[in-house]
Symmetry: none
Subunit: 242 residues, 2 copies
DNA sequence: CACTTCATATAGCGTTGCTATAGGTGCTAG
DNA sequence: CTAGCACCTATAGCAACGCTATATGAAGTG
């Protein structure tokens, strides 16, 4: 099985890398394996992708497109929080389906160097959370909520990948997922004393207005006014209640 | 600076590896660097530790001892949930203080192979959760809760490590931490009752914020700022939706 | 045809993790 | 005292790694 077909070398390299990455059972994938399977020599790889990481980034980008495509299709349900829940599950599912690819995407952490893919995933999550914020269902600013949820989502997925397949307990995912969504949403009603109910209504309203203003521009304020207005709004919505 | 002293080679290897790991600024650490700094040759390393990973495991074990030692000391506070909160913070703190070591411990994931250290950390967390369970403060079985919390804890720490140091927002940790602890504890009482009407818009949100601000004023804005803010809010509230 | 530009190949550099083999050291037994 | 035996360490080198200096081919343009 090789990709010596009529496809251009760049494509063959991408496919070879993707295939090896998908079937490598945890072992490292070398450039020599890739170029051999693609039927090209080393300089071709470096001409097109710069270095090994560049090639992997390209594979990851393709994988991410696929991962996102599924997502955007059925995202517009009526319930933003339900969409977020489904997005979490998609994320875990993607990680377990292609663990090697997922590890290249989210598991290859080095200090101070954020994988590009993480920012994209965060943006995607934030987009969904914005809808929830507009509907007044959010307790915290969408950006912070997105980062928090994604961090937990990645952590859970990595944990599940690290376990042997037959032992994987998906309940871990569901439980963590619900905990995170519940914590950022306004669906809650703590009977533990209404310590923050008065203040939090201000915060919730500010968050909702902030999100609403950014999705549909009001022409009631000039751009300079709007800028200052949004800054104040942010200040209010990020005021901590603890 | 080298460890050619009178210490046995095994110890010198451990110290050299630990030092290089701590100062390697993300770059990979080679066995040749280690053996050179330790003042020994390659076979000595493999005689004592089997392979490179064995040496790193030993370093990690020592680091983990240190990490746990801090923990056990002040663990017996009266409030189990507060202990868990502190343990979470210790975990993040340890990861940010020694990111390279942390990445060897928790970031080196491969499918189906669970780092030993993860099981230990889980056990430690479960122990604390057990106390909470005995006190009737737990909503879910301690084991599952420990796994869930630890997964989120690792995810957050990895995210923070991946960010450049000056941009690290520790609020991400605090927020995720409280979300997880809150979710597994019995302090909650969700009544999944009345859904709010999802008809929110800019105007509705502005009105809500306006009302909320006037009933309980936030101290995030000065009085003059607040005056202008409310005026703009009024202008938005009374505009017709575009 | 001459010229540039892009794409691929030959060959090899420096480094990696690791090891086959052998030599040195300190101990106990005869 | 010496022979033998573990234990520990060094010399030297293998195979594989990521990557590249250099050269060759193909394709388009004047």
């Amino acid at each position: 099985m090789s990709f010596d077909g009529q496809l251009p070398p760049k494509t063959r390299l991408l496919r070879a890398a993707a295939e090896l990455l998908a079937n490598s059972a945890g072992a490292a994938v070398s450039t020599r394996q890739i170029t051999k399977l693609a039927g090209v020599t080393a300089p071709t790889l470096y001409h097109h992708f710069g270095d090994k990481e560049g090639l992997f980034d390209a594979v990851v980008a393709a994988g991410f497109e696929e991962y996102v495509a599924d997502e955007r299709d059925f995202a517009p349900s009526g319930q933003p929080l339900e969409d977020i829940r489904r997005m979490w599950d998609k994320h875990v599912q993607f990680g377990l389906k292609q663990p090697e690819l997922y590890l290249v995407m989210f598991g290859n952490i080095r200090p101070g160097s954020r994988p590009v893919i993480v920012a994209d995933a965060e943006a995607l999550m934030e987009e969904l959370l914005n809808k929830a914020a507009v509907a007044g269902q959010l307790n915290v600013p969408p950006r912070e909520a997105a980062r928090s949820i994604l961090a937990a989502n990645v952590g859970v997925t990595l944990m599940l990948i690290a376990e042997k397949a037959p032992e994987r307990n998906l309940e871990l995912s569901a439980m963590t997922r619900d905990a995170m969504i519940f914590a950022v949403s306004t669906e809650q009603a703590r009977d533990n004393g209404a310590e923050d109910s008065g203040k939090s209504s201000v915060v919730v309203a500010a968050i909702a207005l902030n999100a609403a203003l950014q999705s549909s521009h009001s022409d009631q304020l000039s751009s300079s006014e709007l800028k200052l207005f949004l800054e104040w709004l942010h200040r209010i919505s990020t005021s901590s209640t603890s």
